[in-house]
């Protein structure tokens, strides 16, 4: 049997989730100008919100998902207004913000663990069957196809918003130069706040999709965040197109890499690529 079609399918599956996570991270990073580790916990919150609302309380799944997206967006917004905004107002350095966001990640992760235990949970029971499709000899499930579709959809929407709407142009302006944006009259604080809300929503969506595909646990934030950061660095920081390129490149490298070498080296591949990019092409494939 030929293994290549399945490897391509596996890469597309992994790549679409990396893309979604990278899109959200890229957005907050390019405006906030610091590595927001707290983004990792938004995935956890999104996943657990659906778990709680739909699996425990028994609300209809669409309601659970919608509320979950709002909750993860709000938490991200609150993290910004309560923690990051005052620090930024005090001209705190990127390192300070990074550590503060690590605190947000750890603290919220602990809260989730206390509320829902650290047990691994699956959301797939909420779906009425997860059909498996065979495409050119590669198997892919309905959830994974949805993830891919959502990834492409988000990418298009973000690209359009950033390019053609006033709000999107303001975001682009802030990511170019925050001070100048302020001078020309953009309410930067408000815009950055809504950017964090949206990035939280995207992170939450990513967490839900991970939950439907495999499952959720409180400590899942960091490993996924690291993959997203790697994808963003490969693709080019602050560039929407970079997120999609980085996400898929990383996924293909990981999945095709372990075709030839044993599977225990998968994370070595990921971080090897990260180091190579940081050394030789620190601004990514598509520098801004």
């Amino acid at each position: 049997m030929d293994i290549v079609p399945q490897l391509i399918a596996n890469s597309i599956i992994a790549g679409s989730i990396y893309t979604i996570l990278a899109l959200g991270f890229n957005l907050s990073f390019s405006t906030g100008k610091f590595i927001d580790m707290g983004y990792g916990v938004m995935m956890v919150i999104g996943g657990y919100a659906v778990f709680y609302l739909s699996k425990i309380l028994g609300l209809p799944l669409p309601v659970g998902i919608l509320l979950g997206l709002v909750i993860s967006g709000l938490v991200s917004y609150l993290a910004y207004t309560v923690v990051y905004k005052p620090l930024r107002a005090r001209k705190a350095s990127g390192a300070v913000l990074l550590i503060a966001s690590l605190g947000v990640l750890t603290a919220l992760q602990a809260v989730i663990a206390i509320l829902f235990t650290s047990q691994f949970q699956t959301l797939s029971g909420l779906l009425s069957g997860n059909r498996v499709f065979e495409i050119f000899g590669g198997a892919i499930t309905a959830v994974q196809l949805t993830t891919l579709a959502l990834g492409i959809f988000l990418f298009v929407i973000l690209a359009v918003i950033l390019k053609y709407t006033m709000c999107g142009k303001a975001v682009t302006a802030i990511s170019d130069d925050e001070e100048v944006s302020k001078i020309v009259g953009i309410n930067t604080e408000k815009i950055i706040g809504s950017v964090f809300f949206i990035s939280g929503v995207i992170g939450g969506l990513g967490g839900m999709l991970i939950g439907f595909d495999t499952g959720i646990e409180p400590i899942m934030g960091l490993p996924w965040l690291l993959s997203a950061v790697t994808a963003v660095i490969i693709g080019g920081i602050g560039n929407v197109y970079g997120s999609i390129a980085g996400g898929f490149l990383l996924a293909f490298a990981e999945n095709f890499g372990i075709w030839q070498i044993p599977g225990e080296w998968k994370s070595a591949i990921t971080f090897g690529i990260l180091i190579l990019f940081l050394l030789f092409r620190p601004r990514g494939l598509f520098p801004k």
């Binding site: 049997m1 293994i3 650290s118 499930t141 999945n255 225990e264």
Partner: protein
């Protein structure tokens, strides 16, 4: 202005040194007193034994179940008059089964709680990490769940009530070759001491039985994506998959195998006893087989466990931890709380009537002399014993 600042700096420095001095004196006084207090009270003070296990994290279910069994053991010992008139107290520490957390837990138990012995850890990699620490502190350790082959040589103070993997994997391999008539095995193992040990033991015994190990690759403990590994196995056409991963990862691999329509028998090891795997795996789990370490808990123990955890679930590590505690209680009652004396007595102990196995005696490596296994298969979402 400059001399002034310098002068101020000098004063500040003096102030800091004064504070340091005060702290040192205060520390000596307080700690000196505490020493006296413990000396006076030592006769009535409870005997402390440490417990290290995954009370949170992926294996929290195993940790909680085992803790319940240990609590039953403490109640049993204390209601029978304690150990030599002193009550027994167990200090529980969470390790999440990681070597780093387990190390700090062991250090805390030894230096802060001053425990006489330790029960722990669950994961072999964590037990191996704390072995040198307890060895140096001369505090005997009994593991109730670490089955890695390496634990045998971990040290003189390291014991276990649970049998080594070498026995389990060769038992599983023989069963796969002889009873299931499988010829080509693919192995996925979690990339740690436990996974590597079992995978080696299995492929050796499988080859000795006339089979062939066609694939053996590791997976990171945190990875939730085994698709490419499974795709490789599908291409190789193995007829059995020996799956050496923990709960939280096992159900994912099993589900992904089904998604990729990988038609292969899946065979696992004792951690699959955890019911959360089968609740999460749903239909994909049907027909999966695994070895369990044979336990024959008494009805009394079963009833007490049910009262503690609220379900019939007894994970194998519970009975082994219970017996480990009872053995420690027995030995400490005979020789006191000196670590070396406990260690020497453990090598000679013969404990009968336990809930994990009929009789426990330790060999020169601190391993149990006898071991029994059973095969279970998942039917209608629940593992049942294969007769």
């Amino acid at each position: 202005m400059e001399p002034d600042t310098q002068n101020g700096g000098g004063m500040a420095k003096l102030g800091i040194w004064l504070v340091v001095l005060l702290l040192i004196i205060g520390g000596i006084v307080v700690y000196g007193k505490r020493g006296e207090d413990t000396k006076k009270a030592s006769v009535k003070e409870p005997i402390k034994i440490g417990f290290i296990g995954p009370l949170t994290g992926d294996l929290a279910n195993i940790g909680a179940n085992t803790k319940a069994a240990v609590e039953i053991g403490v109640d049993d010992i204390n209601s029978a008059g304690g150990i030599g008139g002193r009550t027994l107290e167990v200090v529980y520490e969470d390790s999440q089964c990681t070597p780093a957390k387990s190390t700090s837990a062991a250090n805390k138990l030894i230096s802060v709680d001053k425990v006489a012995a330790i029960l722990g850890d669950t994961c072999s990699s964590a037990t191996l990490a704390i072995a040198p620490i307890v060895e140096q502190a001369k505090v005997p350790l009994i593991s109730y769940a670490s089955t890695a082959a390496k634990v045998s040589d971990a040290g003189d103070f390291i014991f276990r009530t649970v049998p080594s993997d070498v026995l389990q994997s060769s038992f599983a391999a023989k069963y796969a070759v002889e009873k299931l008539a499988k010829k080509k095995v693919a192995i996925i193992f979690v990339n740690n001491d436990w996974g590597l040990g079992l995978s080696k033991g299995f492929s050796e015994a499988f080859k000795a039985g006339g089979g062939e190990a066609v694939f053996s690759e590791g997976i990171d403990a945190t990875s939730k994506d085994a698709r490419s590994l499974l795709s490789k196995i599908k291409a190789i056409k193995a007829d059995i998959l020996y799956l050496l991963v923990m709960p939280g990862q096992a159900e994912i691999v099993i589900k992904q195998a089904q998604e990729l329509s990988l038609k292969i028998s899946i065979f696992g090891a004792d951690p699959l006893e955890d019911m959360t795997v089968w609740n999460n795996a749903g239909k994909a789990g049907e027909g999966v087989m695994f070895t369990t370490i044979g336990t024959s808990p008494s009805d009394d123990f079963k009833a007490k466990m049910k009262a503690k955890v609220g379900s019939d679930e007894i994970i194998y590590s519970g009975p082994f931890a219970y017996d480990g505690l009872k053995i420690l209680g027995k030995v400490i009652g005979e020789v006191g709380t000196d670590g070396t004396a406990i260690k020497d007595a453990l090598y000679k102990v013969s404990y009968e009537g336990g809930v994990s196995s009929p009789k426990i005696e330790f060999d020169q490596n601190g391993d149990p002399k006898e071991a029994g296994y059973a095969i279970k298969i998942v039917k209608n979402g629940k593992p049942v014993v294969v007769k």
